[in-house]
Symmetry: D2
Subunit: 83 residues, 4 copies
């Protein structure tokens, strides 16, 4: 479950590309050398960064909605990414 | 739990800045107009993007390690961000 | 015959664009605010920067090939932009 | 008196650097591979691009102010880089 910085960079690079930030994608590819990593880019599905962020939020939401005794809190507030 | 693109962009921008990708951060700030969003940047802790990605991986790992009947699989393989 | 920095920037911007340096052109347009100048871009012919540089070299070459007494030196060496 | 594109690129790169356009200078250095040329950068004086542009303008001004019969036109209009 460890995250390597190369992997984060690759997800970010793909996000920039897929979102149409072409100049940012270019600059980032140069500055991070992300293209020189050994990551097999064909293994990264489209939208991978957003997908993993969504799962991260679900995880936090699950934590928040379960009380210490294991009961599920019905009225847990909705979460947003930034709050 | 919805993710707004402004929020993802802000996390990405902060990641670029914090990781020392200064030219990418500049270009992305221009291309995404991320500085013109209403996000209160003081609310974003350092390392926020990596933190939420890690939680996303934990979520996936939890899914993988629980069988359909609810039993916990002891020998679930470790996950990596990209595999 | 004065040169305003806005004018130099505009020539440089057009050079970047015309030469296919699209990412540099984008970043420079953002960093220099060159698009917000009052320069009428329709007045700039293609290749303007290279054209004026060539004329600058011709000027230097003329200076070098004319002796102080006004005679023309036949064997003045060819100039290059950088030497 | 020929201009090589490598030489123009080098002058432009130095102009970007000297003028404080650090992000443009970075992107241009990557996109043009200007650092991989054989140009001896120690030979380029500061302000070289502006200097050669000024000389180019002087050349044009001289052309404009001399009539076909060789007489000097006293009332030649001042030139600007862009007009």
């Amino acid at each position: 479950m460890s995250i390597k910085s190369d992997e984060v960079n690759f997800l970010v690079y793909r996000y920039l590309l897929e979102s149409g930030f072409q100049h940012s994608a270019y600059t980032f590819s140069q500055e991070s050398h992300v293209k020189h990593t050994s990551i097999n880019s064909t293994q990264i599905p489209p939208g991978a960064l957003i997908s993993v962020i969504q799962k991260g939020l679900q995880y936090v939401e699950a934590e928040v909605s379960i009380a210490e005794d294991g009961t599920i809190l019905e009225d847990a507030p909705p979460l947003s990414l930034i709050d």
